[in-house]
């Protein structure tokens, strides 16, 4: 009996492998997504997923004529070890052709050696630490770098007569990056940073920091916090202490007015000027269509944020590269094709720098306004073709 069962199993296996050979000609394109789908940052994964699904929906689920299979892996937040393990699983077991997603920078750094060894082209959809693209020749980025969004704010402030500022950043790697990039650009244009503070990540109440700023009376303040809970807390303290009335001007990067959280942040954000690469209110035809399709597919509960647009562009970049390679998915050819790739994104024109594999894009200066009863970032000035300043300096 046992023998018979074993024989049957063997036959079934043989049959299965024959079937595999038969469909090999139109193998699907497998894309692994490493991101956060649960826990406090689950919104990142939801936005990624929405952007990816929207792109596929608009293209009949196909890229380069192949059916796309998306394999999702949940790191539940910053987790380099988990990310590394998932990258191995995706490559060895799921046999993916691409790896993408990557919301947190430590996760992107952790998988760099693995994708290098396996020669798997990797498209970063968010992680914004500058050196990620230098950590592996198989990594390209379609999102942004912290420096890329921070430096233009300094230039714009100088252009508009602000010569003195106080810098507030969250005390973690990206906060330090933003601080340095901003201060460098500000000093280069003749501005002066009169004071600065790095606040702990787990800081609920900003009133002491804000009171300190009020008493020091700088001409302006620039701040950088990650999207989510910190910007509203800071803005609340700012309004409560009456710093606007004290005549201190406030500037930030777009994380402070992230479209995902802007409604919940509320009126304390009104009038805030920020620099960023995407606002869901970007007035191009392409973006209007993107937002309309996004709402049609997922409902109005969730606004498309810069995560969704990067995910959408990530898929477009993969499609663009495969168009150039005529469907060849080998790592080296795809990476060659990604270099210098130009795309028209909902956020405006973007390009993958041929030298650095990092993104080149327009950075907009926006102001929070109420449009049709909704808080949105209205773009009113821009810097075109901004490259990552950290790499330009080298």
């Amino acid at each position: 009996m046992m023998k018979k069962a074993g024989l049957l199993a063997a036959l079934a296996l043989a049959g299965a492998s024959l079937a595999n050979v038969a469909v090999a000609a139109d193998d699907p394109l497998r894309i692994g997504v490493i991101a956060t789908f649960s826990g406090p940052y689950a919104d990142y994964g939801r936005q990624f997923d929405a952007g990816i699904q929207l792109y596929l929906k608009e293209h009949d689920g196909k890229i380069a004529g192949k059916k796309v299979e998306v394999v999702k892996k949940d790191t539940a937040g910053p987790g380099p070890d988990a990310a590394k393990r998932f990258a191995q699983e995706l490559i060895v077991r799921d046999k993916v052709n691409f790896i993408t997603g990557l919301d947190f920078s430590p996760n992107a750094y952790a998988i760099a050696p693995i994708v290098t060894q396996a020669k798997i082209p990797t498209v970063v959809m968010n992680a914004s630490s500058s050196a990620i693209t230098t950590s592996s020749p198989y990594i390209a980025r379609v999102s942004f770098t912290v420096q890329q969004d921070s430096a233009p704010m300094a230039q714009w402030m100088l252009k508009n007569g602000i010569k003195e500022t106080y810098v507030v950043v969250a005390d973690y790697a990206s906060g330090t990056d933003a601080h340095n990039a901003f201060e460098k650009a500000f000093a280069a244009g003749g501005g002066k940073v009169v004071g600065s503070v790095r606040t702990p990540m787990n800081n609920p109440d900003f009133s002491a920091y804000v009171q300190r700023i009020k008493d020091e009376k700088p001409q302006s303040v620039f701040f950088f916090f990650p999207s989510g809970v910190m910007p509203p807390a800071f803005l609340k303290a700012w309004k409560e202490r009456g710093l606007d009335e004290a005549g201190i001007k406030l500037f930030a990067t777009g994380e402070a007015t992230d479209d995902s959280y802007l409604q919940a942040t509320g009126d304390v954000a009104l009038g805030l000027i920020t620099s960023h690469h995407y606002s869901y209110a970007h007035p191009s035809e392409l973006n209007k269509k993107f937002v309309k399709n996004f709402y049609a597919a997922f409902g109005k509960e969730m606004r498309p944020s810069y995560f969704a647009v990067s995910a959408y562009d990530g898929m477009a970049a993969i499609a663009g590269a495969l168009e150039k390679t005529k469907g060849d998915v080998s790592g080296d050819k795809v990476m060659e094709a990604l270099k210098g790739l130009k795309l028209e994104s909902p956020r405006g024109p973007i390009e993958i720098d041929a030298a650095t594999r990092d993104i080149v894009q327009t950075v907009y200066i926006r102001k929070v306004e109420k449009v049709d009863g909704e808080l949105v970032n209205v773009e009113f000035d821009k810097f075109e073709r901004v490259k990552d300043p950290a790499k330009e300096a080298q």
Partner: protein
Amino acid sequence: MLAILLTVLFDGLAYGMLLFLISIGLSVTMGMMGFVNLAHGAFAMFGGYVATTLMQRAGVPFLVTLPVAFALVALASIVVERLLYQRLYRRGPLDQVLFTVGLTFMSVAGITWFYGPSQQPVVLPAFLQGQVSLFGLEVGIFRLFLVAVGLLVAAAVVLGVERTRFGAKIRAAVDNPVMATGLGINVGGVFALTFAIGSGLAGLGGALGIQILGLTPAFPLKYLVLFLIVVSVGGLGSVGGALLAACVVGVIDMMTKYFLPEIGSFIIYAVMVALLMWRPHGLLGKKS
């Protein structure tokens, strides 16, 4: 300089009052009932979500949501206490810790399921916003409100435990449950009610705290350390101790963030270590 000092002092006191409101229930359950309830923050979070849900979905005014948050959380905690907690009263602290930590994770996941992971918005009524001049000092109206509520609750709890019949029953039940039962006190009922009041106060603190602490599903884990610091520095089961410790923690936190922002976030822990080395049973704790 004096004005700055007083402003920071006041902000610290207001922050301390908030910590006191949330932590007092933990001090009561841990100190009086001897139960290690690490899920205490979950009750505070529940109060916060009751308040935002009522405000957003039903348009209930902020001040009305506060007693509702207290009552609903207290009621819910009675159910949880009778169903689950009471089975663990006689077990060791490790079992209690494991159980309540598990309960915390379940509450985090449950809230994420219903409300999503993002921050809940809260808009205070206009009369609680902005600043007011008090003896020439600019103070936040909401913070003033926090201090007032904190002092009221502290007074009510102290009087309740020291001066009422119910307070006497609690003390009796804690000191010697067997004797108390012999005297006809329903020890189980007294514990359930005590637990409910403690949890209700956490719910009230959670609702009051949204403005300052924010409200996400991560709340019970994020602030657990602060609550434990207040309880341990204050001394288990001591209302006055918890109040004093909360104010010390709040004021030192604000002071260091203002005057030494580079190291401000770290000093609070150093102070805790120093205080506990000086008085291992807490500022006003009794040696057991």
